[in-house]
Amino acid sequence: MDLFNTLVLLLDSTVRLSVPLLFAALAGLYSERSGVFDIGLEGKMLAGAFAAGAAAAVSGSAWVGLMAAVLVSVFMALVHGFASITHRGNQIVSGVAINFIAAGSTIILGQAWFSQGGRTPLVGAAGRFGAIHLPFADALSGVPVLGPLYSQLLSGHSLLVYLAFLLVPFTWWVLFRTRFGLRLRAVGENPAAVDTAGISVQWLRYRAVICTGVLTGLAGTYLALAQNAGFVKDMTAGRGFIALAALIFAKWRPVPVMFACLLFGFLDAFSIRIQGTPLPLIGRVPVQFMQALPYILTVVLLAGFIGRAIPPRAGGVPYVKER
């Protein structure tokens, strides 16, 4: 029973840790499916987290924090769009620039506004997205096996956790069952086909990066106001890149994206769990190894096991009408 409880706890933290990855990976999915590569997920997420922390600290409201995060993150997504869609700049360079701007400006602004070494003041309960307890969670917790699963694993998460997982079928539905999704997928494969069909390639791609901005804003909000109680400098800690790995790993498909994020979340949870605990046979595993595992796994699996991940054909290429 002890092992079972450990397992439930492990899965519970897997869910929590995979949520920011899931928001960010779905964010990247919208942009990259439209043909705009985005390695600036990390930066947008970080800026969103800072905006959420700052606004919630000042206003005391989690919802104000969320709105601020989404606005800031969408603004940065539009900067990326302006550089790479309107001005046909290099998408990788633009994305890297976004990451640097976010990393630098969050610390400078944080220090200037709050003078706490780049962090934002801790917010109280009203400024956070607290846990939601599903009905009967306490009553059922005593039921063997199913009880803990329900009360620990399904219940007791913040609103954003449920939102993240609901966004998976929603994204699938948008992508494959709506006009917008059809055009989005088309513009990522062959923008000329979209253009000659009488649709604006630029406007379509802008809408895609706006979706990305909204979702990275949610990812940032989750980090600052659900997982923590305020912004801490560099709090994204490479999650934007892991999300990108998950996106490639899942071949730009929504449901596999969720499983990839859960896998990477699990590795993260597992590495925290076994920190300092020697494993049988192997002995003590360095934390650094566990932290590197998602990346190693991505390379290994992409190299051999899941086949080639073929990105959207027009990805990374600005659209220019041919002469």
């Binding site: 494959f176 069952r177 709506t178 006009r179 917008f180 999704g181 059809l182 055009r183 997928r185 088309a186 494969e189 062959n190 000329a192 086909a193 979209v194 253009d195 000659t196 069909a197 009488g198 649709i199 604006s200 054909r313 009408k321 002469r323």
Partner: protein, 510 residues
């Protein structure tokens, strides 16, 4: 007379200093097939792109069915009932036929109902016009002929009454092209107006009612097709008389230079692409290989030039064997006097982003005259390129220009100049005039005859039967990987056509 379906008045368009369209007036009568013919770069595609809203004209007016039309973008053209089948298909490769057809014309935000509606509409169109395609097939699995049908269906689905086709037969086999023409005639009978852009005179004569000729951005003449001739149109296109039949003296064949014995080549799936082929090419003769595209010619060329692995057989160049493991050293083959003009100049013949002078030595860059110790001798290379530009009449005459900015015909001349100027023993040429305009074709044909007269052995592969017949001293016909017959240069088109279609020698003789 009824209103013109399309009337253009004084259309002009410049790209920088290039005057792509100059003051063009054109009337296209409704319910006709109107051909627009001209060399590459004559401005045909630009004119049609203006009509379809891809570009804006600098000056001029467009009238559709008598009404003045302002066409800013493709959807303005679509709204006016204009549809276009582009030279390079505008299809999403991993979408189904149905998805491609509805893209941009979905009607409502959710796909479910629009797909159902589109399916029945598509079935009706397919039935009415004989344009059968499986609506659920994925584009990349379809042969090009069917992909083109999808493009036509796309236009019809959007309610197009005026259909523009830009070089539609460039990618089609003769049979597919014939089928396309049948479809076009049927569309015309239904009252549709069709604009056919091409540089192939034969197609104009076969299918159009009227024809307009463009030259250097200007519309130089419009004729009723039945009142004009191929010769007149060719002359209008290039502005001077064109020899459609190359003049050449008798061949004086010498020693055997290239010998292929019992060559068999398989593709990755193990299917025999070249099946027990033997042939000889002697110095001072042109041996032409005729055949419908995809009957093993490409594989034969690639194997002879050392790029593809043979299953069995031998190839001898000037008495010494050519390595057939697929890893022959191309530099070694060039040293031994084998020059190769590949079929696909964009992927194999040239590096398009390079400057002209760099492409002009590519593959021969190791030669003493181009190097200075470990460095390239840039001066010598540019001088050399400039000489070739003059000798081969390559335009524009700028050796520093990016190769991609040359027209198809001039790009081909760059490759030919590079290979021919190396004084090879044997010249292997694939599709020398594919996508090349009439003026350049004439020039290229003359140069090939010159090579022969200088005593080179020339192996020519072409899907253009006219080209094979007018250049070759001996004609071999390839079908399903085998050489199915040999004929002299006086063989009739019908005779060769039967062989190309795989009709056995004995039957053909009857």
């Amino acid at each position: 007379m009824a209103e013109a379906a399309i009337e253009l008045k004084g259309i002009s368009k410049n790209f920088g200093s290039v005057r792509a369209n100059r003051d063009i007036d054109l009337k296209i009568a409704p319910g006709t097939i109107h051909g627009i013919i001209g060399e590459n770069g004559a401005g045909k595609s630009t004119l049609m792109s203006i009509l379809y809203g891809f570009y804006q004209a600098d000056r001029g007016e467009i009238f559709v069915n008598g009404e003045r039309a302002v066409i800013h973008a493709s959807n303005d053209a679509i709204a006016r009932g204009i549809g276009m089948v582009h030279q390079h298909f505008m299809l999403v490769h991993n979408f189904t036929v149905l998805e491609n057809v509805i893209l941009g014309a979905e009607g409502e935000p959710l796909l479910k109902t629009s797909i159902a509606k589109a399916r029945s509409e598509l079935e009706r169109l397919e039935r009415d016009y004989g344009l059968e395609v499986d609506p659920d097939a994925v584009i990349e699995d379809l042969p090009v002929g069917l992909q083109q049908r999808v493009e036509i269906l796309k236009a019809l689905f959007r309610g197009a009454d005026i259909l523009i086709l830009d070089e539609p037969t460039g990618v089609l086999t003769p049979a597919e092209a014939e089928h396309l023409f049948r479809i076009l005639r049927q569309l015309k009978d239904e009252g549709k107006t069709i604009v056919l852009i091409t540089h192939k005179l034969r197609e104009i004569m076969a299918v159009t009612d009227n024809v307009s000729v463009m030259r250097q951005g200007a519309l130089v003449a419009t004729r009723k097709t039945e009142e004009t001739t191929v010769e007149e149109l060719a002359e209008l296109m290039v502005g001077r008389r064109v020899l459609l039949r190359v003049e050449k003296g008798d061949a004086h064949p010498g020693d055997f230079v290239l010998s292929v014995k019992n060559l068999t080549v398989e593709d990755m799936r193990g299917v025999k692409m070249v099946d027990d082929v033997s042939l000889d090419v002697r110095a001072g003769e042109i041996v032409g290989i005729a055949g419908v595209a995809g009957n093993g010619q490409t594989e034969l060329l690639e194997t002879i030039t050392g790029m593809r692995k043979a299953v069995s057989g031998t190839v001898t160049l000037d008495g010494a064997p050519v390595e057939l493991t697929g890893e022959a050293d191309p530099t070694d083959l060039r040293r031994r006097g084998m020059a190769h003009v590949p079929e696909d100049r964009h992927n194999m013949g040239l590096v398009l982003p390079f400057e002209e002078n760099e492409n002009a030595i590519l593959g021969y860059h190791w030669q003493d005259k181009y190097v200075n110790g470990p460095f390239l001798d840039i001066e010598a290379i540019r001088r050399d390129a400039q000489e070739k530009i003059e000798k081969y009449d390559i335009r524009p005459t700028d050796a520093r220009l990016k190769t991609a900015n040359f027209s198809g015909g001039n790009q081909q001349k760059i490759v030919l100049a590079r290979e021919m100027e190396q004084d090879p023993k044997v010249l292997i040429v694939g599709q020398p005039t594919r996508g090349v305009d009439v003026g350049a074709i004439e020039f290229i044909h003359k140069r090939l005859i010159d090579m022969r007269d200088q005593g080179k052995a020339v192996l020519l592969v072409s899907v253009e039967l006219d080209e094979i017949r007018s250049l070759s001293d001996r004609i071999l016909v390839m079908f399903a990987g085998r050489i199915v017959g040999e004929r002299g240069p006086d063989a009739t088109e019908g005779e060769l056509g039967l062989l190309m279609a795989g009709v056995e020698e004995k039957e053909a003789a009857e």
